[in-house]
Every structure is written in C-alpha cells, then in structure tokens.
C-alpha cells in the first residue's frame, strides 16, 4: 500500500496522527558510499532518487550544507514550462515536462503540479513573429504551443490591460497550455522521501570543506562532519558551483553567480489562473493556491552570493507589473527574497562527467532550474551510473564553450548577466 493514501490518512487520523514516520531519516554519515551528491536541493535530491530507482544504486549520500530545501528549490517562483527554441533545450525540458506530468503519482507525494498554462505576451508585430517561429520550433518537436490574439488573451486574463492606451499594447501571445506551476517545497520533500525510502542517506548540516584525492582522481570529500569516501562524487550546488569547484582546484568556470529576487503579495481572491510573462522587459507572475501573487523579473545584474538584492530591480519589477495590471497598484507586497543563480555563459545548463576523474558536474541553471528538476536528476543519475551522458544531456557539456558548440537560446552571447 502506498505510504500516503486516503486510507492511511484515515487510519492515522483515527490514531491521533501519532504513527507517521518522518519523511526522511537523519542518519550519521558512513565512512564511504558508492556515490556522494553534494547539494541537497531539488537537483541533488532528484539525482539521488533516480540513481536508486532507475539504476539500482542506493548506497548514496546527499550532503547538504544547511537544511534540506533551504536554497533555490525553496526560493523560486515555481513556474514549469518547456517553451524553448533550440532543439537541445526543447528536448531536455520536454522530457522534464513529461516527468512532471506523472510526478505526484510516481513519488506518492502531491507536488501540486498544475498545468495552468504559460503565456508569453508580444508587444510588437516583430516579437509576435518571433513567437510564431519559436512556437513552430516547439511544435516541430512535439511540444504544444499556440498563438493567441488580444481578444483571446483578454478572455483568459480579464485584469490585463489590453487597451491601446497601455504603455506597451499587447498584440498577441504564445501559449503553452501544458506549462504551469508546482509546489516547490513539496518537490524537494517528495524526492527526499522517495530517495530515503530506497536507502539513500540524506545528511543535512554537513558542509563540504574540501576534496579527498588520489593523484588527479577525486576519492571523497572532507566535511564539517568528517571525511567521507566515495567511488563517485557528484556536484549539484547551483549558485555555489564556483566555490565548490575551487575546493577541488578548478579555479575558473564558465559561470557567474548572480542574485535573483522574487516577490509575493498579500493573498487575493482568484485573480489570474495562468502564468503570464511580459515581453517588453522581464516580468513573470502567477497566483499561488494560497492567493498571493508570485512574481519576479530580472537578476540584479552584478556578481553576488548574498541571497538578497537591491532596490532598483524591485522598482523595475513593480513598474512592469503595473504596466500590465494597473489594477494592482494598491496591492501590498508581503515578502521578497533572493536566491543565488549559477549563470552560465550561454544560458544553458551543464550536466556532464568530469571535469576531474571521479567527479560529475551539474550546474549552469541560470534562473530556470526549478522546471528542470526532474529531468536534471534523471539525466545526471544516468550520467553518473553509466559514465556517459544520455542523449537528452549530451549537448550540455562543460567543454562546449571551448569547442564553439554553445546553446544560446536567447542569442545574447557570452554575457551571463543577460541570459
């Protein structure tokens, strides 16, 4: 019987809810493992889950510096989509979308995946043409996409200022109906429980302070809770990639760490039932089940590990929100926070073996890592288990910059703050 079901809920309710097992154990680290995963965020936990489930490798430790899910998996704006232009990205993110569609069932954990659609607004005919091109590229690879007219958009989002008097009038949009949102914390907890029940040790408050080496080969890590050896050491630390790789003696990476802020308003009655993005700036918004509008914009634009940003971006994001939804002018912002993003040089991720023997690397998620969580773990687990990438992540190499094989969906060039 599934651990969580209507029956188990009822049975535990009758017994005063005293018999629930913790979703994951709190084990002490063993002296050695087959695989160590550094980073107990969404990607590290999903990697551990798929290593155990798909490849039968369960002698695995996930090492987390803080508490589980305290990093970007708990800080994002929860949007899930696969509306990319370039085939390598589209295939990968569509694989992720398919895993999302069955995730609650697979994990026996309600991740509240809601396919409420994601609409990119176009504000000029040229932008609308560009969306048509992207939509066609998506449909060519079997991903759903449809163009919408202003009248259709008005019916979908009544609060949107669709008039000619808007600061940037809306001329149309590109909709992916299968896109949506998921409850980010539940994703971390669901993967953690799934991995834990298959024998993976999730070790919190365990900071990696260095690497154990035999010549060039990585043979384990030193941590705040002692040395731990492993045949394979996988790094999935997002914004901390530079710091962790420097511990391994890799001085430079094609990554810059930047801070991205996010915001939530006080709870409102149902206001918007889709994810909408602004085309004349960088703004995206959805409404949580609790009623708060969850929204964000661009990264602050300078290197930062601070997990907090500055006011100019706050001002910009609010302006963009009001350009689309003038009716929100009196709504109060409840909370804002920041997360550290591993901005890569072409805006696409890295999931690869190496760069040192015995090491595996997962990074470069920019500020779009949440939607990738299932496929990132799935592909990283494959890469770790088989010592070679799956087709889905074969293009996401570390040496693609050196070889001129960049995957630059936005066409921005090697400028991480613009991706």
């Amino acid at each position: 019987m599934a651990e969580y079901s209507a029956l188990s809920l009822l049975a535990n309710a009758l017994k005063g809810n005293k018999d629930w097992k913790p979703a994951w154990r709190k084990p002490d680290p063993k002296a050695s493992y087959d695989v160590i995963i550094i980073g107990g965020g969404g990607h590290g936990l999903s990697t551990a889950y798929y290593l155990a489930k798909e490849h039968g490798i369960s002698n695995v430790a996930v090492l987390e510096k803080g508490w589980l899910g305290s990093g970007n998996v708990g800080r994002n704006t929860t949007a899930v989509r696969s509306n990319y232009l370039l085939p390598a990205n589209t295939r990968f993110y569509e694989h992720s979308m398919k895993l999302w569609e069955n995730l609650s069932h697979e994990l026996n954990y309600n991740v509240m995946f809601s396919q409420r659609g994601c609409l990119n607004l176009a504000h000029t005919p040229a932008q609308f043409d560009d969306y048509a091109r992207r939509g066609n590229a998506m449909r060519h690879l079997g991903v759903d996409a449809e163009l919408m007219t202003p009248a259709e958009i008005k019916r979908l989002i009544p609060a949107l200022d669709i008039s000619d008097r808007a600061r940037f009038p809306v001329v149309g949009g590109l909709m992916q109906r299968r896109a949506g949102t998921a409850r980010h914390d539940a994703v971390a907890w669901g993967y953690a429980r799934g991995a834990d029940r298959r024998g993976v040790d999730i070790i919190e408050n365990c900071e990696v302070t260095g690497f154990l080496r035999d010549g060039d080969r990585i043979t384990g890590v030193t941590t705040s809770r002692g040395d731990i050896r492993a045949k394979k050491v996988a790094v999935a630390v997002a914004g901390s990639t530079g710091r962790v790789m420097q511990l391994a003696g890799v001085e430079t990476m094609p990554i810059e760490s930047h801070v991205l802020q996010a915001f939530v308003t006080e709870s409102l009655k149902p206001f918007i039932d889709t994810v909408v993005t602004f085309g004349m700036g960088h703004f995206y918004m959805s409404q949580s089940d609790k009623g708060g509008l969850v929204y964000g914009g661009d990264i602050d634009g300078y290197n930062s590990y601070a997990q907090r940003g500055n006011l100019p971006i706050v001002d910009e994001v609010m302006s963009e929100m009001l350009a689309l939804f003038p009716g929100l002018a009196r709504v109060r912002m409840l909370r804002s926070w920041g997360g550290v993003c591993d901005m890569s040089m072409d805006g696409s991720p890295i999931i690869t073996t190496g760069p040192l023997p015995g090491m595996y690397l997962n990074c470069g998620w920019c500020y779009g890592g949440f939607k990738a969580t299932p496929a990132s773990g799935w592909c990283f687990a494959w890469t770790i288990a088989k010592d070679e990438p799956h087709d889905f992540n074969a293009a996401f190499t570390l040496d693609r910059f050196h070889r001129g094989l960049v995957i630059d969906d936005k066409g921005q060039g090697a400028n991480p703050r613009l991706h």
Partner: protein, 98 residues
Amino acid sequence: MLITCPYCGPRDVIEFTYQGDGNRERPDPASQNFEAWNAYVYDRLNPAGDHNEIWQHSGGCRAHLRVVRNTLTHEISSVAFVRGDHASAARRKAEGQS
C-alpha cells in the same frame, strides 16, 4: 548599494552600468592565441568575497571605474578610475606640465 565615484561622490547604483569581471585580460586584437581568447570570453573566477570588477558611471560622469566589491556582503572597499588617475592627468595637462 552606493558607489562612491571619484568625480561625483557617493551615488546610487542605479546610475551605474555593470561591465563585468575586471580580472579578465583581453588578448591583443591581432592575437591568434585560442586559449587566451577562450579564457577571456568564457572563464570566470567568480569569487565569494572580494571581486575586482568594472562599472561605468553611465548616468553621471560616464567614467569607467575599477571597483572592489564583496560578493557576499555587497560592501565596496575601493573605487578607482580604470586608466590611472584621469583627474590629475587632466590637471597636469591644463597646467602645461604634460
């Protein structure tokens, strides 16, 4: 975040444009050293701590500045002109000492 421009004094960060990592060395334009170009374009130190970076006071005097800023705290410990001390150079020129 305030940046103290050597010309203009302390100004809000909104007046400045970030121009990125100041540790990179651009190879000579005629250079065909592939590795040097690759390092210039793609490789970053990305330190957690003091970071040497270039900002332009684009909403003010437009000078390019070399700033040392802590990426963990956003604290700025030094601001200087990218190419030496422009002000004293200008003064010397005006006084006919160049």
